[in-house]
Symmetry: C2
C-alpha cells in the first residue's frame, strides 16, 4: 500500500509558489507566461482572490473555436471559472480520483480561504513514483536482512 | 502493492485508436483537431510512419516564441521529433517513471514497429485509481470474511 502521501508533503518538496495572472491580461500574455514558467496552467486572481484557472488546453480550445483573435481577448473570457481545489490534508489518492473524474490536470491548494500552492497531475505521478521507490527499497532491505 | 497493470490492459479498455496528423498540416488545423477530439496531443505520421508528436504545450510555446503566425506554419516545424514510446508489455510504474523523468504526458505505444495506441498521463492516473479501488475492495472482503 505504500506510505500515504499528502498535499502538504508535495508542497514541502515543490514549494508553495503559484504563478498567477490577472483577468484583464491578454491570452497572448498568458501563453508567454506559461511558456516562460514552463507550466501548464495559470491561476487567475483578482486582488488576491481566486477567480479561475487558465490552462494550455483552454488556449488551444479558444484558438480552435474563435481563431487567432482570441489571443487579444482577456484571460477572463477563456478561463475556467468553476475551479476545483484541494486542501493540505488531502491524500494523493483523492487527488488522483478528482483529476480523473473531472478530467483536469491542476488543483489549486487552499488553506483557510487563501491560495497555498498548486498541484499538477505531473506532481501527483512524480510523487507516486517516489512512493514506489520507497516500497522497492523497503522490500529489498527486508529480503537482504531477513527482516 | 496492488495488481500489476500493463499497457496492453489500458489499451483493451480505451481502445487502440490514435489521432494522427500529417506534417504538412498547419498548426491551426492541429489546434482544431485537438479541440474536436478532446485530446492533448497528436501523433504526426508520414505514410504511416511515426515522425513526431505535437501537444497542446508545443502549440502554446510556439505562440509564445513566434507569435500568432505560427498557426500558419506546418505541424512539422513545431512537433517534437524525438518521441519516447512504450510497448504493450510495459507496466504502469515504468510509464510513470518515463513521464516523470522526461516531463511528458503522452507515450505512443509501438508493437513490432507499428503504432498500436497511445497512453496519456490521464490514462495512467485513471488506471491507478482503478487499482486502488480493487485494493480497497480486496481489503474490505478480507476484513469481512476473515480471509
Amino acid at each position: 500500500m505504500g506510505v500515504e502521501m499528502f498535499v502538504r508533503a508535495i508542497l514541502q518538496q515543490k514549494g508553495s509558489e503559484v504563478v498567477t495572472i490577472g483577468g484583464d491580461a491578454t491570452v497572448a500574455d498568458a501563453a508567454r507566461t506559461l511558456a516562460h514558467e514552463r507550466i501548464g496552467a495559470l491561476v487567475v486572481t483578482d486582488g488576491g482572490d481566486l477567480r479561475g484557472i487558465l490552462s494550455e488546453r483552454d488556449i488551444v480550445r479558444g484558438l480552435a473555436e474563435s481563431g487567432r483573435d482570441v489571443l487579444d481577448a482577456p484571460v477572463r473570457s477563456l478561463m475556467t471559472r468553476r475551479v476545483s481545489t484541494c486542501g493540505l490534508d488531502d491524500d494523493l489518492d483523492t487527488l488522483m480520483s478528482t483529476m480523473t473524474e473531472q478530467r483536469i490536470r491542476h488543483l489549486p491548494v487552499m488553506d483557510g480561504g487563501a491560495l497555498a500552492g498548486i498541484v499538477s497531475i505531473g506532481d501527483v505521478v512524480k510523487h507516486r513514483v517516489g512512493e514506489l521507490q520507497v516500497e522497492a527499497r523497503t522490500l529489498h532491505d527486508y529480503i537482504e536482512t531477513g527482516r
